[in-house]
Every structure is written in structure tokens, then in C-alpha cells.
């Protein structure tokens, strides 16, 4: 996997895409010279360096066994399934100059609807059918919310922060009304054993699902004109519309994609825990925004880094896991991610001066 836009070889400035870091890296510029200087200035390399340092540190502090234990590594990989999915969806929205802070609420809402349907079907339909229908309901719930967000932002011209703030409240409210504020139980047991805890070639099934979804999204973004058009909308919406790109439809499309991914994430949630998490997911959107930003995707559109977003998303997982293992409160993770986010954005600012 590669960044959607790469650095033009003539430049020596910031390496990341987007307005926040200069003019961004055009998708056509695939050639890249590797040197120590370019690596040091490359956001992905920076984030990976921090991650390797953290892994070594946590490995050392945990006595070399706990952090690298099979269970912990598997848990981190499993957690990555949802975090990376949401991070990539958020990065694509950001590349179009948009943002979706309703992601966590959509994860909850889709898991509630999907879970309810699975429970309702459990007695009357084969388990596999109930689970498949549940997955479809999760995804359709997400897509429906995405269509509403997309209409509000793309067609009505409402600021995406405001529209998705409203949706955050509506979706979490609907989920609470439907469940009367309590988590739902009694999901088909095969959901957890057959998917949530299942492994294929030693890799958790949800993580494989995430890899496939991200791979497909990356392919379409990088290889078809869709990605270029989304970037153009984020870079200069008026210019994009003047060349005949249906900008409202492109914006609606990225919101649908984000919410579709939230639907999948909601299904993974059900499969992992065999219940919903009504009061959880409050930080999902903030985590996905932070992951994308740390990875080098600009908040103001026109640029994206897929690899950077994945690396940025993994940072929070490594921190959380490591802090728990060395017996520090996981609450320090949010502080650490915040500090790293501020450092990353500040470095970009300084470099551009």
C-alpha cells in the first residue's frame, strides 16, 4: 500500500499531503528518492520510528514477555481492525475537506439494529442466515446515516462538523431509545466463535476483513478517477465543479463510505464482545481524526496518506496496550496521543516557516 499522493522530487519541504503541509503531493508523482534526509522528514517514517521506540520500550518495561505475548499481540491486531477502518474512512473524508464526528454513534446504532435483528431471527432462521442478515442490517444502517450526512453537507451545504455533530446526537439517541439504554445480549454464539474470535492463518478474521475493506478502498481511490475527484473537491471545490465533477455527489459518496465502514465496525463490535457498547465509542471519531492527522492527512482537504493513517491509528493501540501492561492507567494514552498530535502538527508548521 502506498500514499495516494507522493512528494514531488524537486521539493525539500514538508513531506505530507494537504494544505496544512504545503501544496501536497500529487498522485502522479510516484518516483521517490530514498535518503536519510527524506526519511527523517517523512511523516510515515517518523510515526513508525516512534512506534518502534514505544514497542521496544514497552517490551523492555514489561520484562520482554507480556507485551510480546501472543494474547497481547492478537488483541492489538484485533483492536486495529476497527481503529484502522474508521481512521481510513475519516482520512478520505478529510481529503475531501470534510469531517465526520458521528462515527462512534453510527458504530453503536448499526450494532444495535444489527444485533436486534440477529436476536429476532435466532429462533426462526439458521444461525448463519441470522448473522448474515445482521451484517447487512449493520451496513445498511451505516449507509442510511451516511446518505443523510451526505445530503446535509453535499446538497444543503451545512458544515460537516455541524451536520455530523447533530447526527452524533441523533444516532446515539435513537440507539438509546431502541435499547432503553441497556446493552443487548443473546446474540447467536456463532457470531463470536465463527467470526469475532476466529483466525485465518493466525490472523483474526475481523482484521482480515479490515485489510480487505481498506485494500478495496485504497484501490478505488488510487487507481480510478474517483480518488482524484475527491482530492480535487477537497483542494478547490469550485474548480472541481467547473470541470464537471458532481461535487455534491462526491461529498455525499465519502460520507456514505465513512458510514458504511462504521456499519462494518459495528458488526465487528458485536462479533468481538457478543453485545453492544451503548455507552462506549465516545472517542472513536476523535481517535480516527487524530490517527489521520498524525499520519499526515490534512484536515482541510486536498491530500491523503493511507499508510500514514494506518500508522497513526496503530500508535494509539500500541500506547494503550503498553500502558496497561506496565500498570499505568490507560487514560495516559489519550494524553500521549494528544501530545503526539500537537507535536506532529507543530513540526509541519515549523517546517513551512
Amino acid at each position: 500500500m502506498e500514499t495516494t499522493q507522493t512528494k514531488p522530487v524537486v521539493t525539500a519541504g514538508p513531506k505530507e499531503t494537504g494544505k496544512a503541509s504545503g501544496a501536497g503531493k500529487p498522485a502522479a508523482a510516484r518516483g521517490r528518492r530514498l535518503s536519510v534526509t527524506s526519511l527523517l522528514g517523512n511523516r510515515v517514517a517518523q510515526v513508525l520510528t516512534v512506534e518502534i521506540a514505544l514497542i521496544i520500550m514497552f517490551g523492555f518495561l514489561s520484562g520482554g514477555t507480556a507485551f510480546f505475548s501472543d494474547t497481547n499481540v492478537r488483541n492489538m491486531i484485533l483492536t486495529a481492525a476497527q481503529v484502522v477502518l474508521l481512521g481510513v474512512a475519516q482520512a478520505i473524508l478529510m481529503s475531501a475537506g470534510q469531517i465526520d464526528i458521528s462515527q462512534g454513534a453510527v458504530v453503536i446504532l448499526s450494532s444495535v439494529f444489527g444485533g436486534k435483528v440477529m436476536i429476532a431471527m435466532s429462533g426462526s432462521a439458521p444461525e448463519a442466515v441470522a448473522i448474515t442478515v445482521g451484517l447487512l442490517v449493520c451496513v445498511v444502517t451505516g449507509i442510511t446515516v451516511g446518505l443523510i450526512n451526505g445530503f446535509l453537507v453535499g446538497r444543503m451545504g451545512i458544515n460537516s462538523l455541524v451536520a455530523t455533530l447533530g447526527m452524533l446526537s441523533v444516532a446515539s439517541g435513537v440507539a438509546a431509545v431502541v435499547t432503553k439504554g441497556t446493552n443487548i445480549f443473546g446474540l447467536p454464539s456463532g457470531l463470536q466463535s465463527g467470526f469475532g474470535f476466529a483466525q485465518i492463518a493466525g490472523i483474526p478474521a475481523p482484521t482480515l476483513l479490515m485489510a480487505v475493506v481498506v485494500g478495496v478502498i485504497w484501490y478505488f481511490y488510487r487507481r480510478t478517477s474517483w480518488g482524484t475527484h475527491v482530492l480535487a473537491v477537497g483542494s478547490n471545490r469550485l474548480a472541481a465543479s467547473r470541470v464537471g465533477i458532481p461535487t455534491a455527489r462526491k461529498i455525499a459518496g465519502v460520507f456514505v463510505l465513512s458510514a458504511f465502514v462504521c456499519g462494518i465496525s459495528g458488526f465487528i463490535d458485536l462479533a468481538r464482545y457478543s453485545t453492544t457498547d451503548i455507552s462506549g465509542h465516545t472517542n472513536d471519531a476523535m481517535a480516527s481524526i487524530a490517527g489521520a492527522l498524525i499520519g499526515g492527512t490534512s484536515l482541510t482537504g486536498g491530500g491523503i496518506s493511507f499508510v500514514g493513517t494506518i500508522a497513526g491509528s496503530l500508535l494509539a493501540i500500541i500506547l494503550q496496550s503498553g500502558l496497561v501492561i506496565i500498570n499505568l492507567s490507560p487514560f495516559y494514552q489519550t494524553i500521549a496521543v494528544g501530545v503526539l498530535l500537537i507535536i506532529a502538527v507543530s513540526l509541519d508548521k515549523l517546517r513551512r516557516r
Binding site: 522530487v9 518516483g31 480510478t224
Partner: protein
């Protein structure tokens, strides 16, 4: 001369303000028509209506007899435009901007971008305009100079235009050498049978280049004449209405 663009009884209002009224204009194949007028005369509104960015309240715009009412129509009918603000995406490369909305794709089913072909054609298009300073078509447009951006916008419009090209101040940010290159390109486009509408404040060059000059005042055409023998002072007097 075959008419390629025909404007009939065009009118456009913005709220209580009449921007255009009763505008009639035609452009023939290979003809260069310059629109002149003082600020607020309606030149940009007329350009926006012709390129389909703004819908007229009255009248019609046709290209080769087919009505043009949207940007999609303009694209389909082979109308290329250089906007005053250039309409470029600063984060995208020269190539991506040149083909934006008109990308070359290949393959069956899911059409994949043909980046190699686009890069080659972008280099050819830039070379054809003789811009030696813009060799790397992978550069993001945000890193180009004002003049380079202007040339890119012209190259894009030339690339797209099959029947009509509209140029709104295409030489505004250019140095003398680049102005010459752009004016040559306009002549070449006209020689190929493309109808040209030019909006420019560079009246000396407009008088040299144009086959006809059309003067707008208060949203309507007050003069549509050949430029032969006209002086800059006469044209300016007509434009501002201080006779």
C-alpha cells in the same frame, strides 16, 4: 463562415439587478471575438452563462445548434474555458489538473487511470505552448508561479476545446514572452476552426488579435464591429460611455 456559437436574446438577473438583457451574439468557426466592457458591464456573467456555469433567465445559448445550459453540456459540446480565477486544484499535479474531469482510463469493468498516457500528453501539451520552465508535470499546481498556472489553465482549455474556447483574462498574470505564447496559441486554435471568445483588458493586443470586438455596457451589447482602424482610445471611450 459557419456559426459555431449562437446567443439569442439572453437575459440574466441576480435578485433585483439585471446583469444581462437582450444579448445577441454569434461566433463563427475559426473566429476570434473579444468581449470588452467596463467593470460590471456583464462580461463575466456572459462568460459564465456561455460555459454553462450560470443558467440564463431568458434566451438561449447554442453550440452547433444544440442548446447549452450546464457545465455538462459545455463539456459534451466541446467548450473549453479559462476562468479568471483559473479554476485549478492546487494540491493536484499539473497532469491531474490538465485532465481533471476528463481522465484517460483503461481496462475492462473498473476503468483504471492511465497515468502514463496522461503524463505524456501533459508534457506534449505544455511543450506545445513552449513553456520551458514547466517541465515536471508531476509538480503540484500550488508550487507553480502565477504565470505557469495561467499557462496550465490555457493548456487545459485548449486540450478540451473542440468547438469553442472561452478565455477570461488569459494573459492577466503573464510576462511579455508568455503573453506572446498564449496569443499564438489562441491564433492556432482559431486556425483549427475553433471559435474563440476572449475577455481581456489588454486592448492593444485585443485589437491586433480579434476578428470582431463586442462592447458590452450595462449588460447589453452596444457595439459589434471589426477592429480594423479602431484606436485604443476610441474603444475605451465606447466601453465607459464617456462620449
Amino acid at each position: 463562415m459557419t456559426e459555431v456559437l449562437l446567443i439569442r436574446d439572453l437575459g440574466k438577473r441576480f435578485g433585483g439587478v439585471t446583469a444581462l438583457h437582450n444579448v445577441n451574439l454569434s461566433v463563427g468557426e475559426g473566429e476570434i471575438v473579444s468581449l470588452l466592457g467596463d467593470n460590471g458591464a456583464g462580461k463575466s456573467t456572459l462568460m459564465n452563462v456561455i460555459c454553462g456555469a450560470v443558467r440564463a433567465d431568458e434566451g438561449s445559448v447554442t453550440v452547433d445548434g444544440e442548446e447549452l445550459t450546464s457545465l455538462t453540456d459545455a463539456k459534451r459540446l466541446g467548450v473549453g474555458v479559462v476562468y479568471q480565477d483559473l479554476a485549478l486544484a492546487p494540491h493536484l499535479s499539473v497532469t491531474e489538473n490538465l485532465f481533471l474531469g476528463n481522465e484517460h482510463t483503461h481496462g475492462w469493468g473498473i476503468r483504471r487511470l492511465n497515468r502514463k498516457r496522461m503524463a505524456k500528453e501533459a508534457r506534449d501539451a505544455i511543450e506545445a505552448l513552449g513553456i520551458s520552465t514547466l517541465r515536471d508535470v508531476r509538480l503540484p499546481v500550488g508550487r507553480l508561479s502565477g504565470g505557469q498556472r495561467q499557462v496550465l489553465a490555457v493548456a487545459r482549455a485548449m486540450n478540451w476545446a473542440k468547438r469553442v474556447i472561452l478565455l477570461d483574462e488569459p494573459t492577466a498574470a503573464l510576462g511579455p514572452k508568455q503573453v506572446g505564447i498564449v496569443l499564438d496559441s489562441i491564433r492556432k486554435a482559431a486556425d483549427q476552426g475553433i471559435g474563440v471568445i476572449l475577455v481581456s483588458h489588454d486592448i492593444p493586443n485585443v485589437l491586433k488579435l480579434s476578428h470582431r470586438i463586442v462592447i458590452l455596457r450595462h449588460g447589453t451589447v452596444i457595439e459589434d464591429v471589426r477592429p480594423d482602424g479602431r484606436t485604443v482610445a476610441e474603444v475605451v471611450t465606447k466601453m465607459v460611455g464617456d462620449e
